[in-house]
C-alpha cells in the first residue's frame, strides 16, 4: 500500500508540474492545476519548508566585508518579512569562530566566582527551573555600520538586516543567580560561550538581575545552532554581542574583564581619538520596510508604507513618516502588540502621485528619545565609530518607482 501511494503521489507531482508550465495565466476561468489534482500527504515533509517559490527569501552576506564566512555576519531579509517575529531559518547570524554543533547531552553551564554555591547544570537541570517566554529583538550594534560615511549599500537587507526578533523561552538569569547565591562583593558577570572563540563579555550585575534570560527555545522550538543551540544568554535591548551563544559559563566578579570583544571591538572611536566602551544600549531606531530598494513601487496609486521600530529603552511610543525628506511628518499607526524591547510594526497609507519622493521614518520611544538623522549623529560621533548607527533611513523614490538608499545633507 505504501509503495503504491508513493508511486501515485510521485506521478501526480510530475503531472502537476508539467500542467503548471502549460497553464500559465489560464486561471481563472479555468481551474488551476493544483485545483484538479491530489496534493502531497501529511508527513511528506516531516519538518516543513517554505514554498519553493520563496527560494530567494534567504539570509545573505556581503562577501567583501570579512576575510571569510566563519567570523562574519549574515543579514535577515527584512524586505520579505511580515509581522514582528523572524522565522528561525531567517534569523541573522553572527559568528566569531563559525557555527559549532554542540551536543546537548554533553553541554553544561557552570556558574562560579563570587557565589556562595558554585553550580554545574546540565540541559536537563536547566529546563527544570521555572520558565518564562518573552518576545525580544536582537540587533548587532554594527547594523548600518557601513553607512557612517555615506550611502553605500542599496538594500534594506544589507543596511538593516543585522536585526531579528523572536519569542525566547528559558529561565531568568536572576533565578539562577539566586540559586547560587550572589556574594555581596560581586558587581559584574563574565559570560562565556562554548564556541571556538570562547566568546566572552562582562555584564553589570544589575542588568543580569533585571531582565536577562538564559534561553533554550526560540519561537517554540529548540534554539537553532545558528542562535546558540542548546543554550544562549538573552540580554534584552542591549547590543547583540552580549547575548552570548552556546553559553557555558557565568563567573561573577568585582570588576569588569575588559575582554577583547569589549575593548578592541564593540567600542566606538570618536573624532577626538577617544573611544566609548560599554555602550551596550540599542538606541531607538526605525526603518521603512516597504517600499525599499528590493521592493519598489509599481505605478502611482494608494500604497501602505510599512515599517519596523524598536528601542532598547523599552517600548516604542510613536513613529512619524515623511515623504518629503523630513520637511513635514505624519504620525503612523502602530500595530499591536507593542512590547518592550521588541520589534513594533507601523504603517501609513500613502497616495503616491508618481513624482520623486524622499521617504523617512522617525521613532520616539517611551523615554521621549527621538531618532536622530545621520547628520546629527556625525556631528557628535564622526564617521569612524562603526557601531550604534541608529540614524533615520532615507529612501529615494524615483518617478519610475525604483527606490534607492540615499543620505541627505
Amino acid at each position: 500500500m505504501l509503495g503504491f501511494g508513493a508511486a501515485v503521489t510521485g506521478a501526480l507531482a510530475l503531472g502537476r508540474n508539467a500542467a503548471l508550465a502549460q497553464s500559465k495565466g489560464a486561471s481563472p476561468p479555468a481551474d488551476a492545476p493544483w485545483s484538479q489534482s491530489l496534493g502531497a500527504g501529511v508527513v511528506d515533509r516531516p519538518y516543513g519548508n517554505p514554498a519553493e517559490f520563496e527560494a530567494g527569501v534567504i539570509r545573505r552576506n556581503v562577501p567583501w566585508l570579512t576575510a571569510g564566512t566563519e567570523s562574519s555576519i549574515s543579514f535577515s531579509p527584512l524586505q520579505h518579512l511580515n509581522g514582528i517575529i523572524t522565522p528561525n531559518g531567517l534569523f541573522f547570524e553572527r559568528y566569531h569562530a563559525g557555527r559549532p554543533d554542540v551536543d546537548p547531552k554533553l553541554h553544561k553551564l557552570m556558574i562560579h566566582g563570587l557565589v556562595e554555591r558554585p553550580l554545574l547544570l546540565t540541559m536537563e537541570d536547566i529546563v527544570r527551573f521555572p520558565s518564562v517566554s518573552r518576545i525580544h529583538f536582537i540587533e548587532c550594534p554594527a547594523n548600518g555600520g557601513m553607512e557612517w560615511r555615506a550611502a553605500q549599500l542599496n538594500s534594506l537587507q544589507f543596511n538593516h538586516g543585522m536585526l531579528s526578533c523572536a519569542e525566547w523561552t528559558g529561565v531568568k538569569l536572576s533565578t539562577l543567580l539566586e540559586e547560587v547565591g550572589v556574594k555581596k562583593e560581586a558587581k559584574w558577570a563574565m559570560v562565556e560561550g562554548a564556541d571556538g572563540a570562547h566568546m566572552n563579555r562582562s555584564l553589570p550585575l544589575e542588568k543580569c538581575l533585571d531582565d536577562c534570560l538564559v534561553v533554550y527555545a526560540q519561537n517554540g522550538e529548540a534554539l537553532r545552532p545558528e542562535q546558540g543551540y542548546p543554550l544562549r544568554l538573552l540580554v534584552p535591548g542591549w547590543e547583540g554581542n552580549v547575548s552570548i551563544k552556546w553559553l557555558r559559563r557565568i563567573k561573577l566578579g568585582d570588576k569588569p574583564w575588559h575582554s577583547r570583544e569589549e575593548t578592541s571591538k564593540y567600542t566606538d572611536l570618536m573624532p577626538d581619538g577617544t573611544s566609548r566602551g560599554f555602550t551596550w544600549l540599542i538606541d531607538a531606531k526605525s526603518v521603512i520596510t516597504f517600499p525599499c530598494p528590493e521592493k519598489p513601487l509599481h505605478g502611482p496609486g494608494l500604497y501602505e508604507i510599512r515599517g519596523l521600530a524598536w528601542t532598547g529603552h523599552g517600548k516604542v511610543k510613536r513613529v512619524d513618516v515623511s515623504v518629503d525628506g523630513g520637511v513635514n511628518w505624519q504620525t503612523a499607526q502602530l500595530h499591536e502588540p507593542i512590547l518592550s524591547k521588541a520589534l513594533t510594526r507601523f504603517s501609513l497609507p500613502w497616495r503616491w502621485d508618481g513624482k520623486p519622493a524622499l521617504l523617512e521614518s522617525r521613532v520616539i520611544d517611551e523615554t521621549g528619545y527621538v531618532q536622530p538623522t545621520i547628520v546629527q549623529l556625525r556631528a557628535k560621533r564622526g564617521t569612524n565609530s562603526v557601531y550604534h548607527n541608529n540614524a533615520i533611513q532615507t529612501w529615494q523614490v524615483k518617478a519610475d518607482g525604483s527606490v534607492f538608499d540615499v543620505q541627505l545633507s
Binding site: G56, F129, A151, S155, E178, P271, F278, W280
Partner: protein, 253 residues
C-alpha cells in the same frame, strides 16, 4: 513531563508557605530566612560565612557542585586591567617569533601586517584621529593581559585554545614587541603583563554618554525644502551584492 510535575509541586509548596505571594517573593523571603539562620549559626559556632553557605543546597537543588578540577578546566579568563586569572608560565620575544611564524603568520603576516583581509596586529599608532584610522593592538588595545586572554581563548582560528600557556605568553611578548611597546628582552608572565602600559590605555571612556543627540519631533515645515539635497547615494556604487537568486560571491573591485 517530569519537569512539569516538578513545577507543579513547587507551586504547591510555595503556595502553602506563602499564600498570595509571588514565587519570586517567596524565594526572596526564604533567602532572607536562610541568611538569618546562617548568621545565628556563625554566632553560635564561630563558623565562617563561606563554610556555612557552601554546605547548604540552593532552593531548587538541581545540578551538581563542580569539582575544583572541573572549574580549573573552564576557568580560563584573565582580566584586562589587573591580569587576575593569568596562569603560571612565561615566554619571551624570541620564542614568540618562532611560534608566530608557525601558528599565526599565515593570516596575520610575518610582522603582523595582516594577509588579505585578516587583521593587522601592528602599527597604526597615532592614527586614531585620522580620516582612516588603523586600529591595531599597538594603536588601540588598552590592556596587555587581554591580549594573552584573547590569544589563549580564540586563537589560532582553526584550532583555538590548543596552545600552551608558555606559547601564549611568548606570542604576547612578540606582538607587543612588534608594536614597539616592550623591548627585545621582554619576558611575558603573570607579573609583567599587567605592568605593561598600552599606548591607548587612557583614551577609553567606560561610561556611556548617550543620549548624545537631542533631535526634536517637529511635525511641519521642519526645514527649508530648498536645503533638502541628496549628499550621497548608493545608486551606481557597485558595492551591493544581489538580493535575488542565489548567494552572491561579490569581492572588492
Amino acid at each position: 513531563m517530569s519537569s512539569f510535575r516538578e513545577m507543579s509541586s513547587l507551586r504547591r509548596s510555595i503556595g502553602s508557605v506563602m499564600a498570595g505571594a509571588s514565587p519570586a517573593m517567596a524565594r526572596n523571603e526564604r533567602s532572607v530566612s536562610r541568611l538569618k539562620m546562617a548568621a545565628v549559626a556563625i554566632v553560635l559556632s564561630g563558623l565562617s560565612v563561606t563554610t556555612a553557605f557552601a554546605a547548604e543546597p540552593g532552593h531548587f537543588g538541581y545540578g551538581t557542585v563542580p569539582t575544583a578540577e572541573q572549574i580549573a578546566g573552564w576557568d580560563i579568563d584573565a582580566r584586562g586591567e589587573d591580569g587576575a586569572g593569568l596562569p603560571p608560565g612565561k615566554g619571551d620575544v624570541a620564542a614568540g617569533e618562532k611560534v608566530f611564524a608557525q601558528q599565526c603568520a599565515v593570516c596575520h603576516g610575518t610582522f603582523g601586517e595582516g594577509e588579505g583581509r585578516f587583521p593587522k596586529l601592528a602599527g597604526g599608532q597615532g592614527t586614531l584621529k585620522d580620516d582612516r584610522p588603523e586600529l591595531t593592538i599597538g594603536s588601540y588595545w588598552p590592556f596587555a593581559p587581554t591580549l594573552w586572554d584573547y590569544i589563549n581563548r580564540a586563537m589560532p582560528m582553526p584550532t583555538p585554545h590548543t596552545l600552551s600557556a608558555d606559547d601564549v605568553y611568548a606570542l604576547t611578548a612578540y606582538i607587543l614587541n612588534l608594536n614597539n611597546i616592550v623591548p627585545n628582552e621582554f619576558v611575558a608572565d603573570r607579573d609583567s603583563l599587567p605592568k605593561v602600559r598600552m599606548p591607548n590605555r587612557d583614551n577609553f571612556i567606560w561610561t556611556d554618554p548617550r543620549p548624545d543627540t537631542a533631535a526634536q519631533p517637529c511635525m511641519s515645515a521642519c526645514r527649508d525644502p530648498a536645503t533638502v539635497t541628496i549628499s550621497s547615494t548608493a545608486e551606481g556604487r557597485d558595492l551591493t551584492p544581489r538580493t535575488t537568486g542565489p548567494l552572491d560571491a561579490m569581492q572588492p573591485k
